[in-house]
């Protein structure tokens, strides 16, 4: 900083026009030229860090010491007022920053609560839908009409739209801990596809992969390192549950290509591949098939049945009656029934006909 004893240092206002590195009081002799010299932007940025107004005011005082000099008290009051404002600004900004932080956090947790509540609501609705469907089936069974409805029930079970339980085979497969973190593991979708197809061929009546019940139209695919069953990701270890006569199922599966592939994989890559017979396994109902309704080209009705659609659009004969679990009665004794005229969307042409080992449950 400039020594106050050397007034000649500050050449900013001097005739040379070459600014020096300081610009402080006391002002130079050429104070009358204040404001005429405009230094380049960057230069002034680095140099004029203090407001030039201070120097100007001091220059005015030096030129006219008897001028309208404000009293010391008013100086202090003005400075205090200014600093009070600055302090208020700082405090307010700090307070706003602090108070905004929990608000954002609160919004996030509120959203999470919303999600939780919606999920709870969804499961409640699903449970009530199952209960209502069970009521409906038992009422219809009481009313009779067992003949055609039994066929419907069998088709529904074959299409995986009702929950079932019974004895069967449980296969647990897991990627080996070979340290391969490249995403794609040893076991791929086609291996699981092969295994599942062999299980069907061995007489399995219902299969779930990773807790997802397989329907006749289900897919087992791979997306990156994860396996998607019916477009729902399943996680390692993957449990393949197949309901069927356990011993027969096991004997026939062991001789199959899928089983052989997995055993060789287990030997080569140290994957987990455990086959156990289970006395009673519960398989969930598969997700309902998407029913598609024909739409007439006329005025767009919202797809509800029985609307005044043109004659080219057949009125939908299938009510959305899939994914409705049947009551907890053995299906072979008192078959669950569905409304007349309704049928599962997919008739399960590839699924084997269920036998007495698979019983429907709620």
């Amino acid at each position: 900083m400039t020594d106050p004893q050397r007034p000649g240092r500050d050449e900013r206002f001097g005739a040379t026009g070459s600014p020096s590195s300081s610009m402080t009081w006391p002002p130079p002799t050429g104070a009358g030229k204040i404001g005429t010299y405009v230094p380049p932007l960057l230069e002034s940025l680095g140099r004029d860090s203090m407001d030039p107004g201070y120097a100007e005011a001091a220059a005015r005082r030096a030129v006219d010491p008897q001028g309208r000099r404000p009293s010391r008290a008013s100086q202090v009051i003005a400075a205090a007022a200014g600093l009070l404002m600055a302090g208020l600004l700082f405090g307010t900004a700090a307070g706003a920053t602090v108070s905004n932080e929990p608000r954002a956090e609160k919004a996030r947790s509120a959203l999470l609560e919303d999600i939780d509540r919606a999920q709870t609501h969804q499961s409640e609705l699903a449970a009530s839908a199952s209960a209502l469907a069970a009521d409906l089936r038992s009422t219809q069974a009481d009313l009779g009409a067992a003949g055609p409805l039994q066929t419907v029930a069998e088709l529904e079970r074959a299409s995986g739209s009702t929950a079932v339980h019974g004895p069967g085979l449980r296969i647990v497969i897991d990627q080996g801990n070979s340290g391969d973190t490249s995403g794609v593991g040893v076991i791929q979708d086609r291996d699981i596809q092969l295994l599942v197809n062999d299980l069907w061929a061995a007489g399995a009546e219902a299969i779930s992969v990773g807790g997802v019940r397989l329907r006749p139209t289900s897919s087992i695919r791979q997306a990156g390192g994860s396996i998607l069953v019916d477009n729902r990701p399943v996680f390692w270890p993957i449990t393949v549950d197949a309901i069927g006569e356990p011993s027969a199922l096991q004997v026939r599966t062991v001789g199959s290509a899928g089983f052989g592939r997995f055993s060789s994989l287990a030997q080569l890559y140290d994957i987990q591949f455990d086959v156990t017979a289970q006395q009673d396994m519960a398989l969930p109902a598969g997700s309902g098939a998407e029913l598609r309704y024909a739409q007439g080209p006329g005025p767009a009705e919202s797809g509800s049945s029985g609307t005044a659609a043109p004659a080219t659009a057949p009125a939908p004969a299938t009510a959305p009656a899939t994914a409705t679990p049947s009551p907890a009665t053995p299906s072979t004794a008192t078959p669950p029934t569905t409304p007349a005229g309704s049928s599962p969307a997919s008739s399960g042409s590839t699924s084997p006909v269920p036998t007495a080992t698979a019983t429907s449950t709620s």
């Binding site: 205090a80 600093l83 009070l84 307070g95």
Partner: protein, 110 residues
């Protein structure tokens, strides 16, 4: 001395009274804070240089805050609010650093 006291009182009042900042003003608060910081540092340096002037301080403080906020407001209206905020922060930041360096030299003679 009184001035420093006023600054502290202002900070404490702002922190504890919690004046609600209207939403339309909230984006300009940080810029206003930077401008106020610049004015305060400038005033402190002027005081150490024995050329402090309360009128200059108050006017430069208010004007700095208003102009900085106005520039950012204008930028927001023009769609370059973020860039102009950066410009204001860079300019005022350089000034704050310059003043802080001068104050440091005053106090520590180094």
């Amino acid at each position: 001395m009184y001035a420093v006291l006023a600054l502290v009182v202002g900070v404490v009042v702002g922190l504890f009274v919690h004046p609600t900042v209207p939403d339309w003003l909230a984006p300009y608060l940080p810029i206003a804070v930077i401008a106020a910081l610049d004015a305060v540092f400038g005033g402190l340096r002027a005081r150490l240089d024995h050329i402090f002037d309360a009128k200059v301080f108050v006017i430069s403080f208010v004007a700095n805050v208003l102009v900085a906020a106005f520039i950012v407001f204008l930028g927001d209206q023009l769609g370059v609010g973020a860039q102009l905020s950066t410009a204001v922060v860079v300019v005022l930041g350089i000034r704050i650093f310059g003043n802080a360096a001068a104050i440091r030299r005053h106090i520590f003679k180094a």
